[in-house]
Symmetry: C2
Subunit: 166 residues, 2 copies
C-alpha cells in the first residue's frame, strides 16, 4: 500500500546470537530430559538434582545444595519436601546449626539414584552422538567460562537493576 515493509538492515542474526542459541538448545534438551525423568521415575529436575548431589557429595544442608546447583532455596526446599514425602531422603538435625537440616539419602533414595544414573548417562550419550570427546570437553570448558562471565556481568548490572527509567 503506502509504505512497503521497510526491511531495515539486519544488525543481528538471531540464529547466530549466542544467548539465543544457548537458551533454545538448553530448553529443548532440558525438556527432553525432564520429561524422561518425570515419566520414568516421577522425578522433577530439581528433585533429581538433589538426589544426584547427595549421592555424589554425601549429606549436606539445603543451602549448600542450592549454592552448588544455583537453585533457589525455595526450589530446593520444595524438592526436599517432595523427596522426603516419598521417603527417598531423610532430614536429620544438624548438630552444628539447629536451623538447618542435613539431607541424607535413604536406602530407597540410593537405589533410585542407582537406577536413574545409568538412564541419565545413556540419554546424555544419545544426545551427544556425533560429538567427539575432545569437542565435548571443549564444550564443557566453554560453558563453564560462559557461566563465569555471566556471573561477572550479572553482578555488574545488579547494582542498579531498576529505578531509573532510562
Amino acid at each position: 500500500m503506502t509504505t512497503p515493509p521497510p526491511s531495515p538492515p539486519p544488525l543481528l542474526r538471531l540464529e547466530d546470537f549466542v544467548p539465543y542459541r544457548l537458551s533454545v538448545t538448553a530448553n529443548l534438551v532440558s525438556d527432553v530430559i525432564a520429561s524422561a525423568y518425570e515419566a520414568r521415575f516421577g522425578l522433577k529436575v530439581a528433585e533429581w538434582r538433589l538426589v544426584a548431589v547427595l549421592a555424589e557429595d554425601g549429606p549436606q544442608t539445603q543451602q549448600s545444595i542450592g549454592q552448588r546447583t544455583r537453585m533457589d532455596k525455595v526450589t530446593v526446599s520444595r524438592a526436599a519436601i517432595a523427596l522426603c514425602d516419598r521417603a527417598l531422603l531423610e532430614r536429620r538435625d544438624n548438630p552444628q546449626d539447629k536451623r538447618s537440616h542435613l539431607l541424607v539419602l535413604t536406602e530407597a533414595g540410593i537405589r533410585l539414584y542407582e537406577e536413574v544414573a545409568p538412564v541419565a548417562l545413556s540419554l546424555e550419550k544419545e544426545l551427544l552422538s556425533g560429538i567427539g570427546p575432545a569437542e565435548m570437553d571443549a564444550l564443557m570448558a566453554m560453558l563453564k567460562r560462559l557461566e563465569q562471565a555471566a556471573l561477572t556481568v550479572g553482578t555488574g548490572l545488579m547494582a542498579d537493576a531498576d529505578g531509573d527509567g532510562n
Copy 2:
C-alpha cells in the same frame, strides 16, 4: 546413632553432566540478558525475539515466528499483544489467510530494534570475552547439533502433542 553409611559410588558427576551444565549456564546467561532487556527497554525475552525476527526476516505470521524460535504459539501471541499495545508493531490482515495477522514492525519498532541490537551484541561480546572466534563457531555448531539430537530423541520418546511440522 551411626546409620547406614551413605557412600554410594558416584556413578555420575553432575558437574560434568552435559544437560545439567547446559541448563545451568543457559539459565544464568538468559537471566542476565533478560534483566538487561527488561531494565533498559521494558522488553521481555519473547518480545525482543519477535522484534528481532521481524527486523531480520520481515513481516510474517505469528505461527511462522513460533516455528522459527520454537516458542509456543501462546507465548508469541502474548508478546505480539504486548508489543502492539506499545505501538511497536502492527497487525495487518493477511490477504492469504484471514485468520492470521501479518506482524509488521512500526517505525517505532524499527527504531527500538536499532537501539537494542547494539546493546545485545555488546552484552554478547562481554559474555564471550576470553573465547576465541574459532571456539565460538565450534560452540555454535555443537549447540545446533545438540538441538537436532534433542529433537530426535524428544520425538522418539514423547507422545509429541506439538505440531512442529517440517
